[in-house]
């Protein structure tokens, strides 16, 4: 310890001067023997990672394996579509009025849904004259009997 070797600053403090150098604080027996060990344990605990509890050591791999099994099961249950398999894809198809007639779709329902401005109305528009209609139908090679029945 570096002791003060300057002028005595206690010359005007006789009571303090007389009490100097006495230490009234008592330390419990063996404190300084056990303290280094205790503090070292704490220091090492700060550095070393805490070991896993036994139940965690078992549970962690079990959880990982379980998760992997679940993912594998889901992959088998719902396979991804093959690159050439287009069945799962949604396709857009152009329909002509003839296609609609052939497929048995109710034309009036379609007309109602599409409204009067749709191009379908232009295609099926027929002249007023019966002969002209028959001539048109013959010319277009449409199922004449069915249409006659319908008219």
């Amino acid at each position: 310890m570096e002791l003060n070797d300057g002028p005595d600053e206690l010359r005007d403090a006789p009571v303090l001067h007389s009490l100097r150098g006495k230490d009234p604080f008592v330390v419990p027996d063996g404190f300084f023997d056990s303290f280094p060990h205790a503090v070292q344990q704490q220091a090492l605990a700060k550095v070393a990672p805490r070991p896993l509890a036994p139940w965690r050591r078992v549970l962690r791999p079990a959880l990982i394996l379980g998760s992997l099994a679940l993912i594998a099961g889901l992959a088998v249950r719902w396979p991804a579509p093959a690159p050439n398999d287009t069945s799962a894809l949604l396709t857009v198809q152009d329909w002509t009025p003839e296609d609609l007639v052939r497929s048995g779709v109710d034309i009036r329902s379609v007309q109602t849904l599409l409204g009067p401005d749709e191009s379908l109305m232009d295609v099926v528009e027929l002249p007023d004259d019966d002969h002209a209609v028959i001539a048109y139908l013959e010319n277009e090679d449409l199922p004449f009997d069915l249409l006659i029945e319908d008219l």
Binding site: N4, V26, K46
Partner: protein, 187 residues
């Protein structure tokens, strides 16, 4: 076992295989002097033990960055000084009370402590020291009880030598006055 020099301790600490051994030596080498300072600051043995433990734990994490041009003891003492002041601050915050109430708690600890062997005048001196503001108490303790040089105290506290001399002078005057009157007796 003779004490190792600072550089010998640091060399041992920096080698992985002797790190724990060096730290153990360091604690053994400085624990008593640091404890004495801390105990005078916080009074109670258990609290002093906690503060001292924090000091060495901070030293453990900070020793790698310690520069060899500084004195190891001054560095450790600075940690002890700061930790003691922090402890007193926390104590005050925890109690939500004034300076006087903290002093009251410290004196009660002193009166009830089984680890205080001083006579009436020693008890009176400790009470007077407790009445000082925290920083001034630290200055008084370092100078009066530890006999530390002002230059070292300046390194520890980060305060100029002039300010330390002035603070110590005022503290001595106050305590002498309290010791020669009945203000701090309470016996």
């Amino acid at each position: 076992m003779s004490d190792l020099s600072d550089s010998e301790l640091l060399d041992l600490f920096r080698k992985e295989e002797s790190r724990n051994y060096a730290f153990n030596l360091l604690v053994r080498q400085y624990q008593q002097r640091l404890y004495a300072f801390i105990r005078r600051m916080v009074t109670d043995h258990d609290e002093a033990k906690d503060v001292l433990q924090n000091v060495f734990l901070k030293a453990w994490t900070g020793l790698d960055g310690f520069r060899a041009d500084a004195q190891l003891y001054s560095w450790l003492y600075r940690i002890a000084h700061n930790e003691s002041l922090n402890h007193l601050r926390k104590m005050r915050r925890g109690l939500f009370v004034s300076e006087e109430s903290v002093m009251e708690k410290l004196t009660t600890t002193l009166d009830s402590s089984e680890h205080f062997s001083g006579d009436a005048i020693q008890r009176k001196l400790q009470r007077a020291v407790m009445r000082l503001p925290d920083k001034q108490r630290a200055v008084f303790t370092m100078k009066y009880f530890e006999g530390m040089k002002y230059e070292t105290m300046s390194e520890v506290t980060g305060t100029s030598v002039g300010a330390l001399k002035s603070s110590y002078h005022i503290a001595v005057k106050k305590i002498e006055e309290w010791l020669t009157t009945d203000q701090t007796s309470g016996d």
